[in-house]
Amino acid sequence: MSEQRFKRLKDIPSTHLFGSGTPACAGCGGLEVIHQLYDILGEKTVFINAAGCMTLLAIYPFTPFRGSWLYTAMASAPAGAQGVRDALDILLEQGRMEKSDDLTTVVLTGDGSAYGMGLSATSGAIERGLDFIYLCYDNEGYGNTGQQYSEATPHGARTSTSTGPRGYPGYKKSIFDIWIAGRPAYAATVIGAEPLDLARKVERATQLKGPKLITALSPCPTGWGFDPQESVEIGELAVKTGIWPLKEYVDGKVVHTKVVRKRLPVEAYLERQTRFAHLFRPSRNEKLLAEIQQRIDSYWKQIETS
């Protein structure tokens, strides 16, 4: 693997390739990630979009993307990437396209598609060894339709379809683990609040051929219930409390790229969001808070002892 371009924060490009003035919500953690990723990938990209919040970034006839863009549907964006990649390869082989005209194929999808409806198409693309980057902005619910439960919703969170006193009773699924079971070229978790870590991982993904996952926890002011200006801070808290581990899978191994020595209690993250307000008011749900903390602790204990 070649030397990393990004050693310090100031090495990160500040080109701001992605246009401003999109209809995305203020403080969108997903948009924050797209901004950063796009500056590293450059404009020689084609984004293959699944249905989700980011479908509305480009509204005819305006687009914030300098490169190419294709909207597919909710369930089959990886198959769209397959068609585009294969066609570009065929055109290159046939000599009907200059090498300089080639594009990086990027799937852009939310957690609703990535963890659920689009999983079969994703699994197929991984198995076929498709050369593409798969960017999942994970706002832990169907954000575009008003934050209903998705398979990425964390335990205890209130969503617009899990409004009871215990919130969502299930547990967040690990898309990272599902991906690495398929032995892809690369997989990483990132967050917009850690731009250097994100830049290094996106850079690494561009250097490898095959299926590559970049999954980003995406704080969602409207869906999670916090002030848009707190987006970065909420993201930092997700890392500092250990609820969103930053890690990567490369050469068959999982490495944590940031291990917080003194993790903050998870409450520091939960109490800042109205989707967890029922855990604190009218009375503290000690049992549930302890359970959430215990699951984080046991995850990290496993990492630290392995």
Partner: protein, 413 residues
């Protein structure tokens, strides 16, 4: 040009090969599997350049097909029945991308109950998605229709994907003598694929299928697609005429068989129309003045050609191999809406529904249809729609149900 025995599936594969399809996203489903197996074999053994990729579903397959066509390569794919329905969301989407490619559908009935046998409910479900539809009745026509379909779909006035439809089992696995056009002549006829309206390139970035806000831009794109499809009526006639000049086979948008001096006509699509033709011959021998119309093109609907061929006829029997539940035959309503309000059109248009799930339509039944039609013409009263199903068939089913019940309960009621 060489003549050989081919199944309908084999003919479809030859069509893709002669059209020099470079990309074939695939997913297996009976009875079209022979098509992708044939293409896969050719590609694996170097007889055909191209790339075949098996996708995880028809939904993904249609997505990949449209995406590759939109990137600038010529695409071929094939499906059937439940597969066509599983890909239905993407049929609408890729037609909206205006990405032309050819999809062969080998018609098969739809679950439930599940069956492998053919009828046309699958292809009728895709009627409004923006794909053009060409319906075939012989293996030769399947091969030729694939070549014509590429020319039509890719033409600058149209730029829409095309479905070439053939009946499962009856045509997919029937071997018929087929003339395989000379590859160079076929290549010259089809021409090179030009994806100028789409294409993803670093030097010419494009955004495809963006969201629209409000009904005005949405209507704009929908109307454009509709107008493009309408252009394809004229386009089809021109391309078919050129095909006839080059290869000597004539494919008008509507096939008319012994209709010129006829008082009455059958209207059918697909290969069961071949049986109707034979029935027309026998009815003619018995002194009836009857003919047959077989629309090849169903989308766009060749309404003007149909009207012109039916002008002055006294009665028409539309025989549908599909049911729109709660309404009836789809071709029947298509035809009556094309004739409505035109005074020189047949006063009697009768509806018959049969051939479902591979059920045969016998020669006697065509005679019965003609008899019912004749008495309707004489009385001037259009008869109610009729399902072709005999009392004997019903008795057989009831007998089997009774046996199964006795088996299950040991005879205890």
């Amino acid at each position: 040009m060489k003549r050989t025995l081919l199944t309908g599936n084999g003919a479809a594969a030859w069509g893709a090969r002669l059209a020099r399809a470079a990309y074939i996203p695939a997913f297996p489903i009976t009875p079209q599997t022979e098509i992708i197996e044939t293409l896969s074999d050719w590609i694996d053994h170097g007889a055909m350049p191209g790339r075949l990729v098996t996708l995880d579903s028809e939904h993904s397959m249609i997505t990949a097909a449209g995406a590759a066509a939109a990137t600038g390569v010529r695409v071929f794919s094939a499906t059937s029945s439940q597969g066509l329905l599983y890909g239905m969301e993407m049929l609408y989407t890729v037609a909206g991308w205006r990405a032309p490619f050819v999809l062969v559908n080998v018609s098969r009935g739809l679950a439930a109950p599940i069956t492998l046998e053919p009828d046309h409910n699958d292809i009728m479900a895709a009627r409004d998605c923006g794909f053009l539809q060409i319906h075939c009745a012989t293996c030769q026509e399947v091969l030729d229709a694939v070549l014509i379909a590429y020319r039509l779909g890719e033409s600058s006035q149209v730029r829409l994907p095309v479905i070439v439809n053939l009946d499962g089992f009856y045509l997919s696995f029937t071997r018929e003598p087929v003339e395989i056009p000379d590859p160079d002549a076929a290549a010259a006829f089809v021409g090179d694929y030009d994806a100028e309206n789409v294409r993803f390139r670093a030097s010419a970035p494009t955004s495809q299928a963006m969201a629209v806000l409000g009904g005005s831009p949405y209507s704009y794109f929908r109307y454009e697609t509709h107008l493009a499809a309408m252009q394809a009526v004229q386009g089809f006639e021109e391309i078919a005429a050129e095909f006839n000049t080059l290869f000597g086979r004539d494919y008008p948008a509507v096939e008319a068989y012994r209709t010129e001096d006829a008082d009455m006509a059958f209207v059918m699509i697909g290969c069961f129309a071949t049986k109707a033709k034979a029935a027309v011959d026998r009815l003619r021998e018995a002194g009836w003045k009857i003919g047959l119309l077989r629309p090849r093109l169903l989308r766009p609907y060749p309404a003007e050609a149909i009207r012109s061929l039916l002008r002055g006829k006294q009665g028409v029997a539309v025989i549908d191999q599909n049911i729109s539940m709660g309404s009836g035959g789809v071709l029947y309503s298509e035809l009556t809406s094309a004739l409505y309000g035109r005074p020189d059109m047949p006063p009697v248009v009768a509806s018959f529904i049969g051939g479902l799930g591979g059920r045969d339509i016998s020669s006697e039944e065509f005679f019965e249809i003609a008899t019912i039609l004749k008495s309707a013409v004489d009385s001037g009263v259009t008869p109610p729609p009729r399902l072709l199903y005999s009392e004997d068939e019903l008795k057989q089913i009831e007998k089997l149900q009774t046996i199964a019940h006795v088996e299950r309960t040991g005879g205890n009621h």
